[in-house]
Symmetry: C2
Subunit: 374 residues, 2 copies
Amino acid sequence: MEFTIDSEMLKNLLNIMGRVIPGNPAVPILSGILLEADRNHLILTGGDLNISIVKKIDLHATESGEITEAGRLVVPMKYFHELIKKMPNKTMITIKKLNQKIKVINGEIEMTLSGMNQEEYPAIPEMPDNGGGKVKGSLLIDMIKETQFAASKSDSRPVLTGLNWVFSENQLTMTATNSQRMAMRKTSLTTLVSGSYIFPIKAMTELIQVIDKHQFIQINPSDNLVVFQSEDLMFFTKLISGNYPDIEKIIPEEMVTEVVVNRSKLLQGIERANLLASQWKHNNVLFSFTEEGKIQLSSSTSEVGQITEKLVPLELKGDTQLQISFDGRFFAEALKSMKDELVSLRFGGSLRPILILPYNKKSTIHLISPVRAS
Amino acid sequence: MEFTIDSEMLKNLLNIMGRVIPGNPAVPILSGILLEADRNHLILTGGDLNISIVKKIDLHATESGEITEAGRLVVPMKYFHELIKKMPNKTMITIKKLNQKIKVINGEIEMTLSGMNQEEYPAIPEMPDNGGGKVKGSLLIDMIKETQFAASKSDSRPVLTGLNWVFSENQLTMTATNSQRMAMRKTSLTTLVSGSYIFPIKAMTELIQVIDKHQFIQINPSDNLVVFQSEDLMFFTKLISGNYPDIEKIIPEEMVTEVVVNRSKLLQGIERANLLASQWKHNNVLFSFTEEGKIQLSSSTSEVGQITEKLVPLELKGDTQLQISFDGRFFAEALKSMKDELVSLRFGGSLRPILILPYNKKSTIHLISPVRAS
């Protein structure tokens, strides 16, 4: 194997691969990166037992290097990545396999790294296209960002630590919940797949870092594995097994109060209230209305102090006697995940969940359960 | 006490004070910030048992607020700072003392924080001007940055954990060393003080964060305390007691080899070599010359690999048979602390310290002891 590649392109490729190659894996060969060169392509493979990435670059077409000799070798990622990172930009790097070693040459810089045993490197599974559908990278990134934060951080119910993707006729729904709050996002999708899959949050957070927002991403889920595939990338992740609860039926329909409010002003108010709510297990913030129809947020910590602030809503309908305590962190995280200038808050009563929706949109729903006042 | 102040100015002031007010001090009152208002000034005091800051702002002159009523109160810094940070910018904040509480009002936002017992707050010592001299803030910052990194991180010789300031006739010399490397910086100074003082590194790193580089800083050292004073700031720190070694006499005079080299190219080469030198206790990097008169840097880690690179010096004089191993981290830190484009390296032999100097300047000297090759 021998190829030459632009130093910045190699750095960018290794930054992507470095996200999923573990430093100290249970299976030592997985600390390596598999480098392969065919006639025109450089192919990089890396990952752990749950997530792996295959990146395939047509060096010839991108004019960022060339392949002199085909071949393959696994090299220790940590050292290879650190050394390439420190190479000067705007230079060409030559990489040669010599016996079981790799030689890296960049002008007057020469380094040799011992290779690893590539026979031990696990094969990447074949995943035929099952018609899961294609989603634009930017939409996939938005949908994941708007939902993944609401998943459970506790392992007591493993299915809730993941992001649930439900494929149904012409629709994809993503849902995350930790039982006290929920985030849900829908989009239309042409798909031949029908079913519910749970993807680990870690895989989702890596996926949105490595996919190209301008490309379409094809989704191929199978029973225990999914591959997200674009022109030059394959991203595999194992699924979480188990049945995801049917959340949609718990979304309340009846409302007693509805307000429309500026999202960032409400978020700032809740974040201030949170500072004095952190002594409480559920970070209690009290939401109520003043006689003049303003929203009032308040919180207090005994021996430290209290904060109260008022905010004028853009619209207010229904019962203004309502008082409801909620977990201010959950409320702030939901508002932060949104981009809309205005949000609607819908209340079913002081013991019922709050619904938060982008104003005049139905594709995203956040739900926060109330907490007892003290 | 009652005053009004621009929200961004108050945030900036609290960011400075927050650097030295401890979160969980042995003496509880020190977790507070002392707020004082006199006729025109807002005075903030905070610190721990070693470092303290007094910041005095003429609110009337800066037109960033006004004092309505004089008074003083100590409030818990953590909550006060976090809450003020979250206040909207470009607004005015009113702060009022009510009984032993503080009330903060900003438009429709109202908060109340319990005060602390200000009788317990320690008095700030009087420090008359003893003629230590005045140094421009920017020069003080440069001198500290160019030397402090070389101090010892180990407590085995406490004096070496500090930065030594020697005041002599018309000169100030700062020195830091950990016995294996040394950094020294001199400047001319009109001073009435003559003596050697050791300041804790933590105080030095905070000092360079809080002083204004455009202002002159007056230095008043005494036997166990020093104050750095500018128009609106007093920064106090305790000294480290003990005798600092007389380093200047160990700086070698005789040289067998001297090279002039581009600083950032040499730094990058050493940083690459460091990546494969980290298995060694002393991070050994080998420095030698090729037959064509190039500098050669190399390092290796068994079972991982090796790196060798060559660099063309701008000047080379003396013995080119020289080979010397040094601690690559120490060498890199010295080069990083410098700003000059070119540096001179002076070698007295493979068992003698390397001198690193800015090209054609004598105010800064770095010294690195060699390490045994293996």
